[in-house]
Symmetry: C2
Subunit: 270 residues, 2 copies
C-alpha cells in the first residue's frame, strides 16, 4: 500500500523537490501485529531530521492515521516514510512556504536466512569512501548515491553487508546499517559528526546496552580497531542486529552479546 499525503495514490509530482534534489528525509520501520516498533523514537528522529533541513514535519496524528490504514491491511510489514519539500519553482532556493509531501509505503518483511541471526553474516569493506559533510551527517536524507554506489560494488550473495569508511579512513557504518564493536565490556559505535546516518536502532542500542552491564562509547573508529574487536555487529530497524562472523580473512567465532542485545531490542518495542 502506498499513501501520498494520506490518500491511496502511488505517484508524486514529477516536479517534486524530493526527486529534483533529494530534498527530503525518510525512515524505515517495522509493523508487528499492527504495532509500529519504536514509534516514539522514529517520530522524534524524523522531526529532528526535518528541523535540520528546515523541512515541514508531518503531524504525528497524520502519520498515525497512515500507519493505521496500513496496519489494517498488513499488520506485519516494513513501512517507509518519506517526507519531501514538495513541488517548488525551478532552482535550489527553498519555497518560502513549502507544505511538504509525505509518502508512506508498505512492503513485505524481508525473509533473511535464519543463519544471519544464528551464526552471523559475512561483510566486506567497501572501496567507496564516504565524503565528510557535517551539514548533512547523521540525517537520513534522500541524497543516498554513496550508498547506492557502495552497494553496487559486490554481487556475491554470500556477502550480506558492506562496511563504509570515510575519506579519512574512519569506519562509519554499513551500507544499510549502523555498526557497533564490542571490546570487553564496552560497546562502541562510530561518531557520526561528519558522515553516516544516525539510525533509531543505533540510538536504542546505546540506551539499552547498559542493562547488560555494557558501557557505551560514541567515538572515532579506525579499521584496525574494528578488526581487533571481540565482536562486531550491524543493526537497523528491519534486520534488528546481526553479528559479523567474517570480514575478509578475519573470523569471529561464537556470538557473545549479540543475542542478548537482540532480545533487548525485541522486548523494548516502544
Amino acid at each position: 500500500m502506498i499513501l501520498v499525503d494520506g490518500k491511496r495514490i502511488d505517484t508524486v509530482s514529477a516536479l517534486d523537490r524530493g526527486l529534483a534534489y533529494g530534498d527530503g528525509v525518510f525512515r524505515t520501520l517495522v509493523l508487528r501485529a499492527g504495532k509500529t516498533v519504536a514509534w516514539p523514537s522514529h517520530y522524534a528522529t524524523l522531526a529532528a531530521d526535518c528541523t535540520r533541513l528546515h523541512l515541514p514535519c508531518p503531524a504525528e496524528t497524520s502519520l498515525h492515521d497512515d500507519l493505521t490504514q496500513i496496519a489494517a491491511q498488513a499488520p506485519d510489514c516494513v513501512v517507509k516514510i518519506t517526507v519531501t519539500r514538495g513541488v517548488g519553482q525551478r532552482g535550489y532556493a527553498m519555497p518560502a512556504h513549502s507544505v511538504g509531501v509525505r509518502i508512506v509505503a508498505s512492503s513485505a518483511l524481508p525473509a533473511y536466512p535464519q543463519a544471519y541471526y544464528d551464526d552471523g553474516i559475512v561483510a566486506r569493506v567497501c572501496d567507496l569512501r564516504l565524503a565528510r559533510q557535517p551539514a548533512l551527517a547523521g540525517i537520513k536524507h534522500l541524497n543516498r548515491l554513496e550508498n547506492v554506489l557502495a552497494r553496487s560494488e559486490w554481487q556475491d550473495a554470500d556477502i550480506t553487508e558492506g562496511i563504509l569508511l570515510d575519506t579519512q579512513d574512519q569506519v562509519i557504518g554499513g551500507c544499510m546499517s549502523n555498526l557497533f564493536i564490542r571490546l570487553g565490556n564496552t560497546l562502541l559505535t562510530p561518531a557520526l559528526t561528519h558522515s553516516g546516518i544516525a539510525g533509531v536502532t543505533r540510538a536504542r542500542l546505546l540506551a539499552l546496552a547498559p542493562r547488560l552491564n555494557l558501557s557505551v562509547q560514541v567515538q572515532a573508529l579506525a579499521l584496525p580497531a574494528l578488526l581487533a574487536a571481540d565482536e562486531v555487529m550491524m543493526c537497523n530497524s528491519v534486520i534488528g542486529i546481526w553479528r559479523v562472523r567474517q570480514l575478509g580473512d578475519k573470523h569471529w567465532t561464537g556470538a557473545q552479546y549479540t543475542p542478548a542485545l537482540r532480545n533487548l531490542l525485541e522486548q523494548s518495542i516502544d
Copy 2:
C-alpha cells in the same frame, strides 16, 4: 509541458529511485526559436554522467522527439531533462535490469535583470563547504542537498549567486553555476575532481576562450587568488555568463572579457 518517457504525464512512481535515493542525473538547457542550444554537448555530458552512475541513458532519438514536442508549444523556454534509475525493489542495490525513467519538463525563460548582463552581479561566499567525493564529483546528479542548503543561506535579493568552497577551502563554483577567473590573458576554472558539477557552458567556454587569445587552465583555486583576479565570471546554460562586480568588500570595475565570451557562447549554439 512535462513528458515522462515521452508521454504527457506529470507524475512519477512514488517508488522511483530518483526520489528514494536521488539515483539519477539531470541537465538544464535552453530552447531558442525551437532549437536546443548546444545539444551535442548536453547529450554527450548526459551520457557520460549516466555511464559514471551505471544508469541507462535514453536514446538520443527519444530525447529529440521529446524536445520536438516541447518546441512546438514553447519554442523559447528552459528544459530540464532528468534521468532516473526508475522503480526498484526496496534497498540500495541497483536492479539487475533497470529501464530508467526520463522526465523532460519545460519552464519559462527566467527574466533576469538586464543589469546582470550589463553591469555584473553581486555574489557572496557561502558558509557551507562542499564535501569532497571523487566518485560523484563533476556529475550533475540528483543529490543536491548541499546546493539547497547553500542557497538557503541568504534572502537578500541584491545577492544573485553564492560561491561555494570545499571542505579544504578551495573554490569550486557557484550554487547554480560554474566559475571562472581571468588573470591577464589566462582564464582559469576550478578543477572538479573532488566536488562540483562540470557544466556544459563551462566546457564550451574552455573550448571557445582561445578564440579571444585567452589561454585556459583547469586547476585548484583558493579564495585569495579569486579576490586577486582581474575578472570573475559565473556561467550556466540558462544565464549564459555574468561577471561578478562585487564580492563582500571587493569590487571589480568594468567588464573586460565577459561580453566577448558571451558573444562567443551566443554565436556558437551547436
